[in-house]
């Protein structure tokens, strides 16, 4: 049997998955908000579809995909798609993140995807 040439890094059915985390983690406000925005954009003339969201996070590259949690992947995909469609530039999103963080006395390292107490 020939080995299929393409298996996406997200396509993990049947592979060892490691231990399952069974602790409850309540939703954070940003998770609810980003999901609400995603749903609204889908309702509005399918401006952004779930199919596109999936395609986007299948194209992140494995390192980023594995680093991000479920809602972080969706938010990242949404940012990527809105930029791709010319609706909101990625730079605008990052600038807004910086402004919000600064208001809390924090600093975002976009390359490292971390937030720290900033000067």
């Amino acid at each position: 049997m020939s080995e299929p040439p393409f298996r996406g890094y997200h396509d993990i059915g049947g592979l060892p998955g490691g231990p399952i985390q069974q602790d409850e983690h309540p939703f954070a406000d940003w998770q609810k908000l980003s999901e609400a925005i995603r749903g609204a954009l889908e309702q509005k003339d399918r401006c952004v579809s779930l199919d596109e969201i999936r395609r986007a996070f299948e194209s992140f590259g494995e390192p980023l995909y594995e680093t991000l949690g479920f809602y972080e992947r969706r938010a990242e995909a949404l940012t990527l798609l809105l930029d791709e469609k010319g609706l909101v530039e990625r730079a605008e999103v990052l600038a807004r993140m910086d402004a919000l963080a600064a208001g809390r006395g924090q600093r975002v390292d976009h390359a490292a995807k971390t937030v720290s107490a900033g000067q």
Partner: protein
């Protein structure tokens, strides 16, 4: 008129298609049985790139024997896995 009917034996193709596909790796090349026709829908593999994905493609629910999917399966022989598969991933078997 759908190409397959309930009870038809079908084989999952490997189209070698990169990018967004709606078929899990573990069913490629496997043989299953059509359980029902689920309707016809815009192709999600096209919708994923913002294209219309028309004309609609037939979607089937197909069941596979678990011991056919997983060589080390130790459950009952009549255990099955059901999954929805779009027409273009299937061939008569």
């Amino acid at each position: 008129m759908p190409r397959f009917q309930p009870g038809d034996t079908v084989r999952v193709l490997d189209l070698g298609k990169p990018g967004h596909v709606r078929i899990p790796f573990f069913v490629r090349h496997k043989t299953g049985v059509v359980e029902r026709h689920c309707g016809a829908y815009a192709n999600p593999e096209e919708l994923g790139y913002g294209r219309p994905g028309l004309p609609p493609i037939d979607l089937y629910r197909v069941h596979f024997r678990q011991d056919h999917l997983w060589p080390d399966y130790t459950g009952p022989a009549n255990d099955t896995l059901e999954i929805e598969v779009y027409d273009h991933w299937l061939a008569p078997a």
